[in-house]
């Protein structure tokens, strides 16, 4: 398509304004985190050293670089608290994502098979909780999971348990909170691919005498793999760094990595350590993030 030259100034502005914003407020801050993760804690304002400054010229810059060190990373590698925190986060994210896939798939599949007019309503109903604050939804679960809360009341009334079990401050509570909060993110991309599924393929399989479970296994499941991948990434990546859910529902003994960053920062006021933990977290997540980006971009261009 040809563009009239008169618009080129506007064109450049349209690209450059958001570009500049993201460079300043997304990329540069991350470089600062990287730099501070190589600094030392100091009792000063800001609480780390060396402080980057262009006043000293080249000599100052050289001195600045010579003061950077990998000490924070060595600390993280040697302290089992940090290592356990990463392992626990990845473990919870992986298992919760699997549970989400198993629960979310039948829901998305069911919605995709209902008549079109009901589909829109059901999707609205699925998305509505996502619009209300995560904090509030997790708080609702704090109500339910209390020792004398409605869940235990129901379990006792049905005599499934004899004594009320403690739910809060357990990993089970974290899983419940995560599965509850992220369910819309799993259902939506799955629904989007299942809804586009060509019905005639299923009819052809049925006509040729293929049993329904086999049709599902050989046709539906492979054709919805893009939706599954999108759902899995959309859940897994943020869950690894989740803070609110483990903080309100989980126990205090073994924190997830988001809590560790929060504690180092607000509790211990150790900014360099918090930064190093954050940098390592991004390193862990960079592969899934890149896969997610490619997938999202391709999905948009295919439409």
């Amino acid at each position: 398509m040809k563009k009239p030259p008169a618009s080129s100034l506007w064109q450049r502005l349209v690209v450059r304004i958001p570009y500049a914003w993201l460079l300043i407020f997304f990329l540069v801050p991350f470089l600062i985190v990287l730099k501070i993760s190589l600094s030392q804690t100091a009792i000063a304002q800001p609480p780390y050293t060396p402080v980057f400054s262009l006043v000293g010229g080249w000599r100052g810059l050289a001195a600045f670089f010579s003061e950077l060190s990998l000490d924070n990373y060595r600390l993280i590698g040697s302290d089992s608290l940090y290592v356990l925190s990463y392992v626990k986060s990845l473990e919870i994210a992986a298992f919760a994502t699997l549970v989400l896939l198993v629960i979310g798939y039948p829901i998305a599949y069911g919605i995709a098979r209902t008549p079109r007019r009901i589909q829109a309503l059901l999707i609205l109903l699925t998305m509505l909780p996502f619009w209300t604050s995560l904090l509030i939804r997790i708080y609702a679960w704090m109500n339910i999971l209390q020792r004398d809360g409605p869940l235990n009341d129901a379990l006792m009334a049905l005599s499934i348990v004899k004594a009320p079990p403690a739910w809060l401050s357990t990993d089970t509570a974290i899983y419940i909170g995560i599965v509850y909060s992220y369910l819309p993110f799993m259902v939506l991309p799955l629904y989007a691919t299942l809804e586009k599924l060509d019905e005639s393929l299923l009819e052809a399989a049925a006509d040729l005498g293929c049993p329904r479970w086999k049709t599902f296994w050989l046709i539906t499941l492979p054709l919805s793999s893009a939706g599954m991948l999108a759902g899995v990434l959309l859940c897994f990546i943020p869950i690894v760094g989740e803070f609110v859910i483990p903080d309100l529902l989980g126990g205090s003994q073994s924190p997830m990595i988001g809590q560790t960053i929060w504690m180092e920062f607000f509790g211990n006021k150790d900014w360099p350590a918090a930064s190093a933990v954050a940098v390592l977290l991004v390193c862990v997540l960079v592969t899934p993030i890149v896969i997610y980006q490619n997938q999202a971009m391709r999905a948009l261009e295919r439409e």
Binding site: P18, F25, I136
Partner: protein, 266 residues
């Protein structure tokens, strides 16, 4: 023909029930007369009445709404520009980096976004408060705006713009007269999402806030982390009601404008 099996219905019903039961429990408890949250003391609106006397909470609510209005508007403008850049201007220099910076914040854990922005504000020695949180929320929300507007622009019928230009409309006029009205429903939806994201955010706001800018989620969090409180049930119920009504209204509105937009798009 599609057939809905019993299994499909059961999956949907259980799924929806799972999503709504906790919210229903919270709303019911907010009307509990008893101070002991789990002991039912009859219906009452006393916790709602008590909220009106909680100055600090009302202040925070006011700050949060002002913040969400500011951040949503800024994010919508920036995000729409970014969407136009990605869809319309093809392969400009640095497009890959640009696209990565749009998609990465969508899944980036909030602790990292919050921490990195705070360190930026400290590095340039800005006083933290309302405006630093507004900038942080704008950055986070604009990427969601971009994705929504982008998906609308992708299936935009270019012939409409070409027709306007052929008839002599200058590019800017074409944009404001033809393009913008057609993508307006997407922009409105994106603004609402940005508003909700800002209103709900706890983590990023906690990192980037300063004195005098305690948002409602920060206030609620500081109360509920110590346990369940009846006043908090009431606050949360009000927020749920506000958001619920707004989203349902917007989707009805979207359906109306969408229905009107269909013949134009053919």
């Amino acid at each position: 023909m599609r057939k809905v099996s019993a299994f499909n219905v059961v999956a949907i019903v259980i799924g929806i029930a799972f999503l709504y039961l906790p919210i229903a429990v919270l709303v019911i408890y907010s009307f509990n007369a008893s101070r002991l949250v789990t002991v039912w003391g009859g219906w009452s609106t006393r916790w709602y009445a008590e909220l009106l006397h909680d100055e600090a909470l009302l202040d925070s609510a006011f700050i949060s709404i002002r913040l969400a209005l500011t951040a949503a508007t800024a994010a919508t403008i920036l995000g729409t520009l970014a969407a136009l850049a990605l869809v319309r201007f093809g392969r400009f220099r640095g497009r890959l980096l640009f696209a990565s910076m749009i998609y990465a914040p969508l899944v980036m854990p909030e602790v990292i976004t919050g921490l990195s922005l705070l360190l930026l504000f400290v590095a340039v020695a800005v006083d933290r408060g309302f405006w630093t949180v507004a900038i942080a929320h704008t950055t986070m929300a604009m990427c969601f705006v971009t994705v929504i507007v982008q998906s609308r622009l992708v299936d935009f019928d270019m012939r409409l713009e070409e027709a306007a230009m052929d008839l002599g409309a200058p590019p800017l006029r074409t944009f404001f007269g033809v393009t913008l009205p057609l993508i307006l429903p997407a922009i409105a939806a994106a603004w609402m999402l940005a508003f909700a994201l800002s209103l709900d955010d706890l983590v990023i706001a906690s990192f980037t806030t300063g004195p005098g800018a305690t948002t409602l989620p920060i206030r609620i969090y500081s109360q509920v982390r110590l346990g369940v409180k009846p006043e908090m049930n009431a606050v949360c119920s009000i927020m749920i009601a506000v958001v619920g009504v707004a989203v349902i209204a917007a989707s009805l509105l979207g359906k109306l404008t969408g229905a009107r937009g269909t013949p134009a798009r053919l």
